[in-house]
Symmetry: D2
Subunit: 301 residues, 4 copies
């Protein structure tokens, strides 16, 4: 048995040292360190395809850059329509703002500010979205499935791949899946055109082949779930067609007891065949805006 | 100020009495009672359209019947593909089973059992799903959007509307939306046919017009969110086109601090215009399999 | 394997029926039903000593009566100084009030209202406490340990045992332990007299013998933890001197990952010998003001 | 309004840089950065007395050293008997060990290992505690209150102040309060002597004067709560006799809805006068073994 060692904070400590020391502790600190180790292995294992699932308002929360950087190690990216909409909003020159959670929401409404916990967004961002879709409709309307549509938006959006998730996915040809895209601002833009009688025909199921093929054909798989929701579940579903993931990291604060997929522990996936029984995996109980920068920075040494 | 009164448990107490007494207490008990009151008003307000969003593994958890009954009061139903798949699985004669959460998942895997917290499902259920889709493909393949497909499955599935969500929605013409249907067992069945070269063309955005029209045209709106996820967010999105909901109930155990939509308090919706500033609404922090039977039973007197 | 059965809400349903039906479901509902079963067994097992630990602001929350009633089945009662202070405050004619959590606390402060989530208490209640201790000091100062002091307060307080925890414990000679009594309004009253130069000498450790003797000498033990904190831990500690509890119920919403005793699962106690390995026990993840009325009412049939 | 800036992870990043960048983000990351700023101010404000309350199994979790270091900035220290017992156990040469949470607890029991989430402790540590108390009883039995007893244990324990909380408090004359000391291994050692007929007389209320005097006489107060429990509440209680704290940090994962003190937001204290209305304070929703090393290390630059 390895004794717990007490972390000693030193002057000018590096994140990598901090996380290394956490590996000699217990409770959540050890989960952070375990996640760092598993992520390091997953990223350096040449045979391993990395599936990254990102739910939650990560772009409004200040995590866009870290996602862009992690895409360099990602083979399959699944996220929510909301994150992609917020990414596009920033690509079009708008911002998200630091706000407060304990606030009078009807005052915000009068000021035209939409609140996401302690973030505000101007409601007028939708005008820029409208302009973008109006201007680019002729190109967008040719797309046939959600991945094509998202890549096309990435191609057309006026931002570099260093600062934009959609552009990065397009330029680096990283497949991006988002089954519930209708449930987002981008979805609303499509609806708006449809309501004007314009035509587009995006198939709801066409992307499935590609993500399942990734799971099916890769020698090894690794999963990183930031939050749960559709991104986690859609990857889990594909993994049923693999031999089970070899590596897994989940960062979530949801409870497992009420039975939802977002709170389910990774080990549950072993019963389904989504996770190998001898896989290296860790459930991190922590806000992702704290845990992920810590884990990711610990690898950059 | 109203004094807190201490609940007195009596012999053979009815649920309605218990919840009424909870209304004189504090903390979570008062949330239950408030939710009972708001649900009662929402259901009896003739001008109010009720939007019911159900995420989480509610069908495996034993909540199918309560959802079927609540559909009598529901104008728009949004749920996950998983719930609908589990509903169809039961309609095809299969069961979910009471299990344990603290268990060896690799043993379950060997036995062909898939675990959902403390529920097990036989992996072989997929065979019946395959048969159903194989047998009914000619009719299903004609569908053009997700709502049509789900109603068609409801029409074809061999169960009565008293025991099946999909059948009930079909027979009572309750619109059922599920933007991420690809992310479910039903989605896998579609993928399976596509992979065999069969054709179907389901539009990913076509349903949006209908749900937004509901929000747009109704005099009043009420929302009930069981869990968060896409069901909550898709309703919230539609409500941006309404004058804001007049009534709201959310049952969730998610935290608001990490910023995700599932944990966001209903009051946040006021800033977005999704909730009226003087709406009657309550956030219930409780496992839905406890809270919803309690709240719903309190109204049946 | 037992199939999950879907709960069917009926008109005028009794709580006992609701909870019985929950036993055929899954997730949290099944925990409620399991707790009902375990509590029933624990209460009807003549050889079993029942240890009830109550943390959290249960008296302000409206749970005083249910605790008073449960004391009829309780052999050893451990709670916080806060709950006993709030019990005494009510015995002296004051109330707790229904309030709001989303409120301007500096406004409350100006109005002399102290907030406990969605409960308010007038700050002036302390005057009545002062009067009570001033008037009864000669009798109180004779006490030598915390249990004696609490029984004496119970004896002296102007309320019946039907409406007062302290009176009930005194009259029914139920041992009541509260190691951190200094950490409460009652503690402040003692401090106030000491600061005036008055004398009292209450031993901090004297009660330990009695609670450990209970654990040591009883044939069987059962534990009920409402919240965690000192009440849970003090009982757990005593149980190390038993053969381990035979029955256990814990109602808490705390997480286990950060390692605190309040969030620890009951099964952890098996390693320590606090719980028998074949004990019947259940962890209920639920607000106690919801779960306990439901569980307790289910037994009153 | 300040735009959210996206954190950019750089090679060999320092913790101070990481946390500084978190201050430009949102959600939990911003709470970490706010806590860093408030802690920095609290520690550098010469007029401010710092009250540090530590609940939860922080010593078993690997946080002993960080607490020892923070004591340099602490005027009043309140913790649980458990933390002090675990500190003494290590001072006597024993260890805590890295373990697993998902384990067969009856196997651990057979091996003589006590589990605290993912930490194990040998049950035989109690023998060393017995020896220590046996050997030093003549000196310990002279103590009259809990603080004296804890300082005396610190004086006698065979470890340096660089490695032992109790020794550090004794040598640096940092008042250490622990109202529920009976509820701990140290309490059990006292009980053991009392059961043998040995005498000691520790007053349960005597320490109150000193902590309240601190709150009463200081110009400014700052509070740091690691977890809740008695440590938080005992400080909060004392602060009612101050002008309200000027600075506050709380690190906890408990929910506020069930009404317990441990989950209560700091802002609630404004109504009670425990916190100034214009105080600088932040509630951090995070496992303390992750958050505190991060926050504390960010100040060491």
């Amino acid at each position: 048995m390895k004794p717990v060692k007490h972390i000693k904070i030193k002057k000018d400590m590096k994140v990598s040292e901090l996380v290394e020391n956490m590996g000699e502790m217990a409770f959540g600190a050890r989960q952070i360190s375990d996640a760092s180790r598993v992520m390091g292995k997953m990223f350096s294992d040449k045979e391993c395809k990395v599936f990254l699932g990102v739910a939650g308002a990560m772009v409004p929360g200040g995590m866009k850059q870290i996602i862009i950087d992690m895409l360099d190690e990602t083979d399959v990216f699944v996220t929510t329509g909301a994150n992609l909409t917020h990414d596009l909003i920033e690509a079009l020159g708008e911002n998200h703002y630091q706000g407060e959670s304990n606030v009078d929401d009807s005052e915000l409404n009068k000021k035209g500010l939409d609140r996401i916990y302690n973030v505000y967004m101007k409601n007028e961002v939708y005008e820029k979205l409208e302009d973008f879709f109006e201007k680019n409709w002729d190109k967008l309307k040719e797309c046939k499935n959600i991945k094509q549509l998202l890549w096309k938006i990435g191609e057309l959006c006026p931002e570099t791949k260093e600062n934009c998730i959609l552009k990065k996915c397009f330029e680096n040809k990283i497949p991006i899946f988002c089954p519930a895209l209708a449930d987002s601002g981008i979805g609303l833009m499509i609806w708006g055109r449809l309501a004007q009688g314009k035509k587009i025909s995006i198939d709801a199921f066409d992307d499935m082949k590609e993500i399942i093929d990734f799971a099916w054909t890769s020698k090894k798989n690794g999963v990183i779930y930031i939050g749960g929701g559709v991104p986690k579940n859609f990857i889990q579903q594909a993994l049923q067609f693999s031999k089970g993931a070899n590596y897994g990291i989940q960062i979530s604060t949801d409870r497992q007891e009420p039975g939802g997929s977002s709170g389910a522990q990774l080990k549950e996936g072993i019963s389904w065949g989504k996770m190998k029984k001898d896989a290296e995996f860790v459930d991190v109980f922590c806000d992702a805006t704290i845990a992920l920068p810590l884990i990711y920075a610990s690898l950059k040494k």
